[in-house]
Structure formats: C-alpha cells, structure tokens
C-alpha cells in the first residue's frame, strides 16, 4: 500500500542511515582506498594500483587459509544442518518438555564467543579438562595444542556444540508451522515416516533451512573469536582461518595494503557463496527455472 498523506516517518530512518554510513560505508571506502596504496606512515603513501591484489592472490599462506576455511565451513554445514534437523524432529511437540528443551538448547547461544573458547580450552586440556582427561584415559593421545587433527576435532566440536542449537530452533519453528492436516493426510495415504519427512517436513522447512544454511555459512566463514582463543590458529597454521590470517596480516605485521585487498576479496567470496546457496535452495525441489 503506498502511503501518501504523511511522510514524516522517513525522518526516523535518518539516524540509521547515518550510523550505517559511518560504520559501514565510510570504512569500506577506506579499505578500498588502502587496497590500492602503499602506506609507509602518516601522510606517506604511494598509489600502487592492483599490486596488492596480485600479491595477495598468489600468497601461499592465503591459499592454505582459504582451504582451511572451505573445509571448515563445509564440515559445519554437513554436520550442523542434518544434526539440527534430526534434533528438531526428535524434540517433544508441546508441554513443559518442549519448553525445557528449548531453554537448554538456547544456552550455548547466550554465552559470549570468547568465553566459549575459554570453556573449551579448559574442557579439552589433557591434564585437567573433563574431555581431555577422559580421552587420554582411554589410551588415546589427545592434545589440541600439539596435533593438528586434535585441534580440528576440538574446533569442530566446539563449533557444533555452539551453533547447532540455532539450526534446531529454526528447524523446530519450521516443523511446528506445518498444519496438522498434512500429517493426517500422510497417515491416511499410508506414508512411512521417511516419506513423511521427505515429502512433507523437508519441503515445508525449505524456507527456514535456507536461512539456517545462509547464517551458518556466513558465520562459520567469518569465524574468529573461538578458534583464536582456543588454538590461536595453530598448531602451525592448521586452524588458521581467513579471518585469523587477516588479523595477523593487518595487526600483527601491519601490512595494511595487502590486508585491505584481502578483505575485499574475502567480502566478495562471502557474497558470492551466500548468493549461490540462496539460489540453490530457492530452486531445490521446486523444478522451477528462474
């Protein structure tokens, strides 16, 4: 409905516009600016064109970080989405049990991210941590500060523990929104539990699952605080993800130019993949060609 008689409400948008301009657009332009200059110090800068981009794109360390990142995000989606849906399916539909489950599930989401890292450091320590001691007690060597595989397992466990609840909550909301008549019809048609899931629950959850995949992809692709606290990117560069690499480059080595060029590439990758996922999920199972 187009509104014509009172447009004063537009003034309410002005503060948001200003905040977005200051917090996003201006920094972004600064980044673009940095990415094409070499900066020696205040007031001393030289225009270098696309040189930083070339350098960054051929950087072996970056390739390694990019590989880690894709592996990480891929594993996150592969584990969290099916697991989240499975938990949502298994949850009680109503009553106090449902409420209790929801509260328990929401707990990890309420903890600050760096605290999560700390919790898991302690939890997995081979000397005093519950998990570390337990695994070593089984006779398995486990130390996430020394073995790359152990570090990966720990980071993945932490990530799954932290974020699967979000997928569960979304999937649960999607499931609850399916009218009862669909399940009755499925029973009448003699559909098996699998067929009910495949032809009713899954298609009806498409909307929420699209959101879940997008959120989990973007978040995991940008992950920083938890692995930084837990492993610091190590051992070696085993768990150095893109953002950790970026911070090392920008803050650690103060290579502002390459870091800026890298940020822009990073940004474009996230944008591209989010768009791809969105398109794929919109069209999945509908047979529509748009």
């Amino acid at each position: 409905m187009d509104k014509w008689e009172d447009n004063r409400a537009w003034w309410l948008v002005v503060p948001v516009f200003l905040i977005v301009a200051i917090s996003a657009i201006i920094p972004l332009m600064t980044v673009v600016n940095y990415s094409v200059q070499d900066i020696f110090g205040p007031g001393q800068r030289v225009f270098v064109g696309t040189e930083w981009f070339k350098e960054v794109l051929t950087d072996r360390r970056l390739h390694e970080a990019l590989g880690n990142q894709f592996l990480f995000s891929g594993l996150v989606l592969l584990i969290e989405i099916p697991l989240g849906v499975a938990i949502a399916l298994a949850m009680p539909k109503q009553g106090w049990r449902a409420s209790l489950c929801l509260v328990l599930l929401a707990l990890p989401l309420l903890i600050p991210w760096n605290v999560i890292g700390t919790i898991w450091i302690i939890f997995t320590r081979p000397d005093i941590g519950l998990m570390g001691v337990a695994i070593n007690g089984l006779g398995l060597e486990f130390d996430h500060t020394a073995a790359p595989l152990d570090a990966w397992v720990t980071v993945m466990l932490m990530e799954v523990w932290h974020w699967t609840p979000l997928v569960v909550l979304l999937a649960y909301a999607g499931l609850r929104a399916i009218p009862e008549a669909y399940f009755q019809a499925a029973r009448i048609d003699g559909a098996s539990a699998w067929a009910t899931f495949r032809y009713i629950q899954l298609p009806k959850m498409r909307g929420v699952l699209t959101i879940a995949v997008l959120l989990r992809f973007m978040d995991s692709f940008l992950i920083y605080a938890e692995p930084f606290v837990l492993t610091g990117g190590g051992p070696g560069n085993a768990t150095t993800f893109l953002s950790i690499h970026l911070v090392k480059m920008a803050v650690g080595q103060f290579d502002l130019g390459p870091a800026a060029a890298f940020s822009l590439i990073y940004f474009l990758i996230v944008l591209l993949f989010s768009w791809l996922f969105y398109q794929a999920l919109q069209n999945v199972g509908t047979g529509d060609k748009r």
Partner: protein, 361 residues
C-alpha cells in the same frame, strides 16, 4: 466400501469430564450405509469434526465402539482403517507432480507400477486432471488441489469411505458448483460412501442424500434435505435450515386446534391426538414459504398487522405482527398485499407442532 456403525459413541477432550458441556460428543448411535452420500451439518463447535475424526481414527472416542462392516476398529489407527479424507485446506505434496501425488497412496502400499499408472490415469480422467499430470502440484489453483486430495482417496480400491471436512472453504464461488457437481457425479458413478462435514446448509443439502444435523454434541435429526425442510425434528433445525428460518409461535391446545394469541388455528386430528401432556411448552411451527395472505372468506386465518415488506427482487419477505409475535412470510415478488391489516393463512399440510422444542406432529 463398507457400512460404518457407531455404537454409543461419546467423546470428551478432557481427562475427567464432569459436566454436560465437557462432552464434545454426547452419546450417539449412527449407521452409515454402504454407498450413501451423507452430510454432517451444524454450526461451528457442534461436534461434527470430532465425529468425523472418530470415524477416521484421528480421535479415539472416550466411550463407544466404531465398526466397519461389523468389524470393530475403535482402537485401530487411521492408516489401518482404509479411510480417505479431504481437508479444509488443500493438502498436497508440494514437490511432487500431480501424477506422483495421485500415485502416492498406491506406491506406499507397494502396488505395482502398471496398476498405479492405470488407476492414476483413470482417476485423472474423471477429475479432469489429465492435462496437468506432469505439472508440479503446488502450481495449481485451489480447486485443482482439492481435486488432487480427493483423487488420492479415489485411486485406492480399498477405501471404506471418503470423508470431507469443509472442502470448499477456499474455493472461488464460481468454481464451487463445478466441484459440487463433480462430487455428485463421482458418487453416482462409484457408489462410494461419502461423508461431508460443513456448517453451510447449501453445501450439505446439495451434496447429500441423507443429512445429519448436529448441535451441541448431539445428533438432532437424520433425514433427506426435503424432510429437514418440511418437517424439522427440532426447533433448532427449523431455525438453522432455510432463510429466513421457520416461524415458531407459542400456543395452547384447544378443542379443534391450537390458540395463538387468542386466535384459533385448526389442526388435523392426527396432530391433535399427539398433544397430550398439558405442562409441555407448545409451539406451532410454519415456514415463511407456507404462510400466505388469506382471501377474505378463509376460515381459520389469523388477523395480523404488516410491519415490514422487504423486496428482495426474486421474492419478498413480509413481516407481520400478531400481538407481539412475529410471523414472516415469503411471497413471490409480484404478489399484491393489503396496506396494514392482513389476514394470513398457514398451509395446513405444512403446519408442525413442537413440544419443548421437539416435533410431535
């Protein structure tokens, strides 16, 4: 197909029903004859959907037994009952084609593909969906979706009955009568047992051979549309069916008829002898269609005053007052009327007498 019998069915959604109104269904017995077209008619909250769910197995009744062809199925689950159901809102499998939708119940029951193809084509032809078989079901209009829901019931050769829960709610008015006709055709052709739940009298009366009227968890009358119109068994039915509803006039028994506000309406002997108990609350019921202005000499006509005439184009509704009692009559549009005073006559064959709200004759 099967005969469905409900024996002393009662249901409450509460764990420990105490009061009368705790019961969504008060005790009822009902037999649904094999091949009948039934409608369950009543206002919202009358228990009709509960009754439907008792038959389909979605609700296990608190008391009583359900049997199909003499076999007790009270505790049996929906999927084991061979019931098909069409819901208020179209339920289709979005991601499947129309063909796969129709084939779904058969494939779930492990029918071989040849049989599936044959049955689906047969049903699609009847429902005029052949052209759409390859289309994704979600792209169809609401009425085509409802046809698919119906089709999923029809493809099965083993269904005992098809239940309909207000299936035309979301259908455009123009498409409604086509679907109604389709249902009629299907019934005539296959002689399936069809049970149709609705609050809309037009839908119930058009669809069914036998209409079961419910109110407040009870069955008030089972009858043909004509019986419900001409001899409503209960005051509520007289009010609920027909527009405007039946006129009910409090009266007292007198020698050769009843007295209404000091004037006498004579009644046939057959009705008079049924008026026995004096303490009952007697009412005379007559439909507006059977009230006519009397020609001057008619005996037994009532003296009334015209309060309002509503010309509704196709007909007119005249509201007459008889000492504070309202009598509506429905007249053809071109019927001439006196100005103020009007003597009215009731068609003697269509006068009904009610004692405490129930028809006695």
């Amino acid at each position: 197909m099967a005969e469905i019998e409900l024996k002393q069915i009662a249901h409450s959604y509460l764990k420990t029903p105490v009061r009368d109104e705790d019961w969504a269904l008060k005790e009822l017995d009902q037999v649904w004859i094999d091949g009948g077209a039934y409608a369950l008619l009543g206002p919202s909250g009358c228990g009709k959907t509960t009754l439907l769910n008792v038959m389909s197995g979605l609700v296990i009744p608190t008391r009583g037994r359900v049997s199909f062809d003499g076999e007790d199925v009270t505790e049996r689950k929906t999927e084991a009952r061979n019931i098909a159901q069409v819901f208020q809102f179209p339920v289709i499998y979005d991601t499947m084609s129309v063909f796969d939708n129709l084939a779904f119940p058969l494939r779930n029951r492990k029918a071989d593909e040849n049989t599936v193809r044959e049955r689906v084509h047969e049903v699609a032809e009847m429902l005029e969906l052949e052209g759409e078989l390859k289309t994704r079901a979600r792209r169809l209009t609401a009425d085509a979706k409802q046809k698919i829901s119906l089709g999923r019931g029809l493809v099965r050769s083993d269904v005992a009955a098809i239940l309909f829960d207000e299936p035309l709610t979301v259908i455009d008015p123009q498409a409604k009568w086509l679907l109604r006709r389709k249902l009629k055709e299907i019934h005539e052709r296959f002689k399936l047992t069809l049970i149709y739940v609705t609050h809309d009298q037009a839908e119930a009366l058009t669809f069914a051979d036998q209409v079961v009227v419910m109110n407040e968890g009870q069955v008030l009358q089972v009858g043909t549309p004509q019986e419900l119109f001409e001899s409503p068994a209960h005051r509520f039915i007289g009010y609920f069916i027909g527009s405007p509803g039946m006129n009910f006039l409090p009266c007292e028994a007198s020698e050769d008829g009843v007295r209404i506000a000091g004037q006498t309406v004579s009644l046939p002997e057959s009705i008079l002898e049924k008026i026995v108990a004096k303490e009952q609350k007697l009412e005379l019921g007559v439909r507006p269609e059977f009230v006519r202005p009397a020609s001057g000499t008619d005996r037994g006509s009532l003296e009334t005053t015209i309060r309002a005439v509503d010309d509704l184009g196709n007909y007119k509704i005249v509201t007459c007052m008889l000492e504070g009692l309202e009598i509506k009559m429905k007249l053809p549009e071109d019927w001439a009327l006196p100005e103020v005073k009007c003597r009215v006559n009731f068609n003697p064959r269509m006068i009904r007498v009610y004692a405490d709200g129930r028809l006695i004759g």
